[in-house]
Symmetry: C2
Subunit: 206 residues, 2 copies
DNA sequence: GTCACTTTGTGCCTGTCTTCACAAAGTCGT
DNA sequence: ACGACTTTGTGAAGACAGGCACAAAGTGAC
């Protein structure tokens, strides 16, 4: 169900355009998938479409949001306030989608206390408190690769069970913890692979 | 073959530890996959392992790098010098993996001319020149969603055929152009989904 | 009330990706 | 030189995802 967020984004865009109803064909093209796939995905949530008409935009958006667990706000903490951590802290897009950055954390005492995007950087030692008192559920790791496993362990020990990792390392976690790693170098390498394929194809048949 | 970058990263780490040879079992666990999958993946590249011994770390790293097209450096341009663009510009990890950021671009005249991470920001109008003269092959889009399609079109018109997109939109491009979109909100929403599943499971069987 | 038309929901098929399991191939000690 | 042992490479089986195509279900005009 990794495509639901894409559908939700397309629906939100349609709703702000004032569109009330949408067919699977239209929504699929807006989300960049095939209409058959879209219908199959939505059918797993239940029957929210009307045959001959399509889907009610607001209704479907609510259903998808509910399925994703976005009826509540999710508290997020960012660990590692370097270049990337600062950019993430300043990003408004998270709040728009129901993710509240409630804490910025770092290990380095020279960074702790600094105010970034209106929030004071705290020590990673505060993590258990954040989970206990503020319901922190999601941790974002933006430390260098060397510190990532340690940061992850600290998060997991404090009770966080969802982690978004930007460090190019494979993190080891207990089964109940979910880690998603976003590795930009990997993305670029995949693009390089395609670039090379294009170059080779062109050399053969120019 | 989206896993090759992961193998390469694991191999690089092993090489810098001084390891000369590695078994499929070890490498697979370092890369976070099963050993059967690793062997099957590697067998598509050719037979670079030695039965009873394993794989030569340096040799295999070279072969994978060659398969990915990483024997050459890939010139990269970043379009959109906001929070995220600046973080990317300052990131040293790209250069380490053979990606040279040769240009920082923005549409806003107040940003053009500014020096970020030692490079002067240029106008997007320079793009055709960068492709022609410097062999620019990969474009990174770090503009707000509204500007992303326009930025993408500019890149494609200039001749760029590999695009890494950080804006949460579906980009429309010709067939020969490859776009990879990294959407952090989507990642968080998937984590929220897991968080909710855990919460529900706990409510049922505490 | 009926009929033509639109669009969903879904059974089935096809191709791909993953795992299993084992023969083939090589190493190393003796 | 040989045999026990280790580890690769791969055929076969299984799981899964995606697409096709159509019946079912609803709308709306007359
Ligand atoms: N900067 C980018 O644009 C970019 C792009 C792609 C990937 N990344 C990855 O993101 C990560 C961060 O990159 P960066 O450029 O922001 O790094 P950085 O060196 O600028 O910042 C790292 C910060 O993390 C803190 N830190 C280190 N270990 C810690 C720990 N165990 N607990 C808490 N804080 C800790 C440091 O004190 C520092 O403030 C790296 O893994 C990098 O590979 C960054
Ligand atoms: N900041 C983050 O950490 C973060 C996190 C996740 C996703 N994103 C996404 O990344 C993108 C950039 O975010 P940001 O916070 O850096 O935005 P930003 O508003 O800080 O910066 C955007 C920059 O892009 C430039 N720009 C706009 N349209 C352009 C065009 N057509 N061509 C060239 N330049 C153009 C603007 O002049 C501005 O300098 C957004 O799409 C955002 O959704 C950012």
């Amino acid at each position: 169900m990794a495509r639901l967020p894409g559908y939700l984004r397309a629906l939100t865009a349609l709703a702000s355009d004032g569109t009330l109803s949408v067919s699977s064909e239209e929504l699929a093209s807006a989300a960049g998938v095939s209409s058959a796939m879209l219908r199959k995905d939505l059918s797993h949530l239940g029957s929210y479409g009307v045959r001959g008409v399509g889907y009610d935009v607001d209704r479907l958006a609510s259903e998808i949001a509910a399925a994703l667990g976005l009826t509540q706000d999710w508290p997020v903490a960012i660990v590692g306030m370097g270049n990337l951590g600062r950019a993430l802290a300043a990003y408004r897009g998270f709040a728009e989608r129901g993710f509240r950055v409630i804490a910025l954390l770092d290990r380095d005492e020279r960074v702790v206390g600094e105010v970034i995007a209106g929030t004071r950087v705290r020590s990673t030692a505060d993590l258990p408190d954040l989970v206990e008192r503020d319901g922190l559920a999601i941790g974002v790791i933006a430390t260098p690769p060397e510190g990532a496993q340690e940061a992850c362990d600290t998060l997991v020990d404090a009770g966080v069970r969802s982690v978004l990792n930007f460090a190019p390392v494979v993190l080891t976690v207990p089964d109940e913890v979910v880690v998603r790693t976003v590795d930009l170098s990997t993305e670029l390498q995949i693009l390089a692979f395609h670039g090379q394929r294009l170059a080779v194809a062109e050399a053969v048949a120019p």
